[in-house]
């Protein structure tokens, strides 16, 4: 039987792509490893290699076809000894029996696109959906479609955004790039350094275009030597430059954490105020999707523990841009925690020449009166979805986007708790000594008499991140858990 060649997923975020070009034509011999076609996704052009040997019997999807869903058959390969007559008799799949079965292929229904991943995670949690995966082709959406974005949160404009300012839908990825671009244009001391930031345009494409504009003097590819280049960055900062040091992800910053804490955070104090370290350490923090224990840790609480550091963790693109600009200008060491799943999500960003968000100010993302939910970064996706669910049940939640972890805007939280009397915190990191634990302590210290229920933390489970799709889902917080916690503190079921 002829073998089907399926449209492959070339990245964890791909659901469909364009079949740009066939490099083999019908009748050509193919052997495994041959490049048979080129595919374009939103990010890149990639090659499709044959795995099976034989003759390209039939091309099912023509050159130039757009929006071809992953796993759609795109061609048939005739095996040794088969001729065209075999084409009439249907095809076997390349994996033999190994087609994903609805109940055995949870990976297929896993979050795929950046934007959708979080939303889906959230959905599934809300629905307490225990059913396994779906067929991969089932509900695939076009890559990069607007549907991949979460419902835009009700954005209360920052106080200093003039009425009538145009809002431009921007991805978090581009907002971060714009912040660096603007600050590098404004201040020659600012430079960017890290693994794959220049020629590759960033491992997650955050630094796209910066090398072209600023050249290799200011956009610098480093070897894979985190401890070394973090130290080089700190030294350069002590000498008066303003480095932005990108960690491909914060998991790798553990290699460098000694320089961040012992050298960057403490020098101002140790030098009696003579010498400070104006530097930004930024990169993706926390879980992505299915990358396992060593690549999925949330470090917010770690850095939050250290005096001498400023720790930022924005959720929206506007905050990503405005806070990164503030971080670069800041005179101290700033830890800027991004999130891979948020990179592709779009949010309205005010079109202003110089949009800077103040460090240390939380934002009320959704006003409410019954219960306060505090979250930040990707935690906001759970919090906002939960608030919608709760509204259906008549619970009016106030959602606070903390944005700055340190120095923490305790006043905003306390004020809200004095109104609602109830508090739920949401984080993907572990509960013990977590940011939620800190918030809880502060609220207990300053608003004990206003609390009508114990503060409740929703967090990542107290385990290293598992790889298996079902376990990973269980390890992360869910919308359902936030809803449940909020109802519990409201004494509702």
């Amino acid at each position: 039987m002829p073998i089907e060649v399926l449209m492959p997923a070339l990245s964890p975020t791909m659901e469909a792509g364009k079949l740009a070009k066939w490099l083999k034509k019908e009748g050509d011999a193919v052997k495994s490893g041959d490049v048979i076609a080129e595919i374009e996704t939103d990010k890149a052009t990639m090659e499709v290699e044959a795995v099976d040997e034989g003759v390209l019997g039939k091309i099912l999807i023509a050159d130039g076809s757009e929006d071809v869903k992953v796993n759609t058959p795109i061609a048939l390969i005739l095996a040794d000894g088969e001729d065209e007559s075999a084409l009439k008799n249907g095809a076997s799949t390349p994996a033999g029996d190994a087609q994903p079965k609805p109940d055995a292929a949870p990976a297929a229904g896993e979050p795929k696109t950046g934007g959708e991943a979080a939303a889906k995670r959230a959905d599934e949690g809300a629905a307490k959906d225990a059913s396994g995966g779906k067929q991969p082709t089932g509900d695939a959406k076009a890559t990069g479609s607007a549907a991949a974005n979460p419902p835009a949160p009700e954005v209360l404009p920052e106080p200093d955004v003039p009425e009538g300012t145009e809002m431009v839908m921007t991805t978090v990825r581009d907002a971060l790039r714009d912040a660096m671009l603007e600050e590098m244009r404004a201040d020659e001391r600012v430079f960017l350094m890290g693994e794959e930031v220049a020629e590759y345009q960033g491992a997650y494409k955050v630094s796209q275009g910066l090398l072209e504009e600023f050249g290799a003097e200011r956009v610098i590819d480093t070897p894979i030597t985190e401890h070394g280049f973090a130290g080089v960055g700190v030294g350069a900062a002590l000498a008066g430059l303003k480095p932005i040091v990108e960690f491909m992800t914060f998991n790798f910053a553990m290699q460098a954490i000694d320089q961040i804490i012992n050298s960057a955070a403490k020098t101002l104090y140790m030098s009696g105020g003579q010498m400070g370290c104006s530097i930004v350490f930024r990169g993706a923090n926390g879980a992505a999707a299915r990358v396992g224990a060593q690549h999925s840790q949330d470090y917010a609480a770690w850095y939050s523990n250290v005096p001498g550091l400023t720790v930022l963790a924005p959720y929206t693109a506007a905050d990503a841009k405005g806070l990164l600009k503030a971080a670069i200008r800041d005179n101290n060491t700033v830890i800027f925690l991004e999130n891979e799943i948020l990179y592709g999500q779009q949010f309205p960003v005010p079109k202003l020449d110089d949009y800077v968000v103040p460090i240390g100010k939380a934002k009320i993302a959704r006003p409410g009166k019954d219960v306060t939910i505090v979250a930040w970064s990707i935690g906001m996706t759970y919090a906002l979805k939960a608030a919608e669910e709760l509204a259906k049940d008549g619970v009016d939640a106030e959602v606070i986007d903390l944005r700055t972890i340190r120095p923490m805007d305790t006043d905003t939280i306390i004020e809200s708790v004095k109104k609602t009397g109830r508090l739920v915190t949401v984080e993907e990191g572990w509960a013990q000594s977590g940011v939620g634990a800190e918030i809880s302590a502060r609220v207990m210290e300053r608003a004990f008499d206003w609390l009508d229920a114990p503060v409740t933390r929703v967090s990542g489970k107290d385990v290293p991140m598992p790889y298996a799709a079902n376990l990973e889902k269980l390890a992360l917080p869910s919308v359902a858990e936030v809803v449940e916690a909020a109802k519990a503190v409201c004494y509702r079921t």
Binding site: E49, V70, P106, P136, P223, T225, Q294, H295, P464, L474
Partner: protein, 352 residues
């Protein structure tokens, strides 16, 4: 200094090195490189198993059955197979995240490896580790590590334990050209030489660390000399020629086992696929890849020798391919149908 001449011709400052390699690899004049028929057939089958396994893994990834990162070993098969032809039972292996080939070479079960890739309960880590994190006490395979360079210190620690226990075992520590710049590599080198630890450092120089070529990341691209300041001997080896790998591996392992301390082998090799599945590989030309595949393929080299010398017929080699494909298909089928881990596994294996 104890650094032996770079016998295996490819020099790192040349183009993708095997191009500079003489057709027959290392010092064939001495005859030291010749493989017996059995060795040729063994190398051929084992390398083919890795190749087919990786192709299948790539396919399952494309079908959404494997998630996250998935780093394929295609092109580099001769390195681990040649080295495993030089070890003794009980010698240990440790590597990074590009680990599927190493596990198969350590005779781990393809089903268990593939099921880990799909995150199922029959995987080597019960589905909890994933592509980058697998281990086998039985096969003395110590992982499977996601942090670039970390395995170098860990592998040095394995050698420390061997020395401590006086068990005569050698640890083989694999890492990439990119990893070779990490600081802990040099801290480990120093201790290994200082304490004469039985360890062989195998640098798999596949020319790129993600999108960065060796030339753009390393001030001295002759990675075999990275132990020079610690007086650790090193050689460059044509890592596309399984015979050269085995011969160099035997020398290095003997050196370590005799108590002379660490040894560095720079395997000059090439990765055909992207760094991981989502790498568009814009940093190198298609020609470069194609040329390497056509003129230096490690499996094709053995195949051609077997046929030319009349040691095997096309049909016999086809039958081997079929046998290997059957194993891989069975592994894929298992990995597809095996259930996910029980939810209770979320809470196990944290302490013991």
């Amino acid at each position: 200094m104890a650094v032996s001449a770079a016998k295996a011709a490819p020099t790192s400052d040349s183009q993708p090195a095997p191009e500079a390699a003489p057709e027959t690899g290392v010092s064939s004049a001495s005859g030291a490189l010749e493989f017996t028929k059995e060795e040729e057939l063994h190398a051929h089958r084992e390398m083919l198993l890795i190749r087919r396994f990786e192709e299948k893994a790539g396919q399952l990834y494309g079908m959404g059955l494997i998630g996250g990162f998935c780093h394929l070993y295609i092109g580099q098969e001769a390195v681990v197979i040649g080295m495993q032809m030089a070890v003794e039972p009980g010698d240990q292996v440790i590597t990074g995240y590009r680990d599927h080939g190493h596990m198969l070479a350590c005779e781990m079960d393809p089903k268990g490896v593939m099921a880990e890739l799909t995150g199922r309960r029959g995987g080597y880590s019960k589905g909890k580790g994933g592509s980058m994190h697998m281990f086998s006490v039985e096969k003395q395979f110590y992982g499977g590590h996601g942090i670039v360079g970390a395995q170098v210190s860990l592998g040095t620690g394995l050698a420390f334990a061997n020395r401590y226990k006086k068990n005569g075992k050698v640890s083989l520590v694999y890492f990439g050209d990119g990893a070779s710049n990490q600081g802990q590599v040099y801290e480990s080198f120093n201790m290994a030489k200082l304490w004469k630890l039985p360890v062989v450092y195998v640098i798999e120089n596949n020319k790129y660390g993600m999108g960065t070529s060796v030339e753009r990341a390393s001030s001295n691209t002759n990675l075999s000399q990275r132990g020079a300041s610690f007086d650790i001997p090193g050689e460059q080896v044509d890592g596309m020629d399984v015979r050269a790998v085995k011969a160099a591996g035997a020398r290095a392992i003997a050196h370590a086992r005799e108590g002379k301390g660490p040894y560095i082998l720079e395997m000059v090799t090439y990765r055909y696929r992207g760094h991981s599945m989502s790498d568009p590989a814009k940093y190198r030309s298609k020609d470069e890849v194609q040329k390497m595949r056509e003129t230096h393929d490690p499996i094709e080299q053995v195949r051609a020798r077997l046929i030319k010398a009349g040691l095997a017929t096309e049909d016999e080699l086809k039958a081997v391919d079929k046998e290997v494909r059957d194993i891989v298909n069975a592994a894929a089928e298992f990995a597809t149908n095996d259930p996910e881990p029980d939810p209770s596994e979320l809470w196990t294996d944290i302490l013991r």
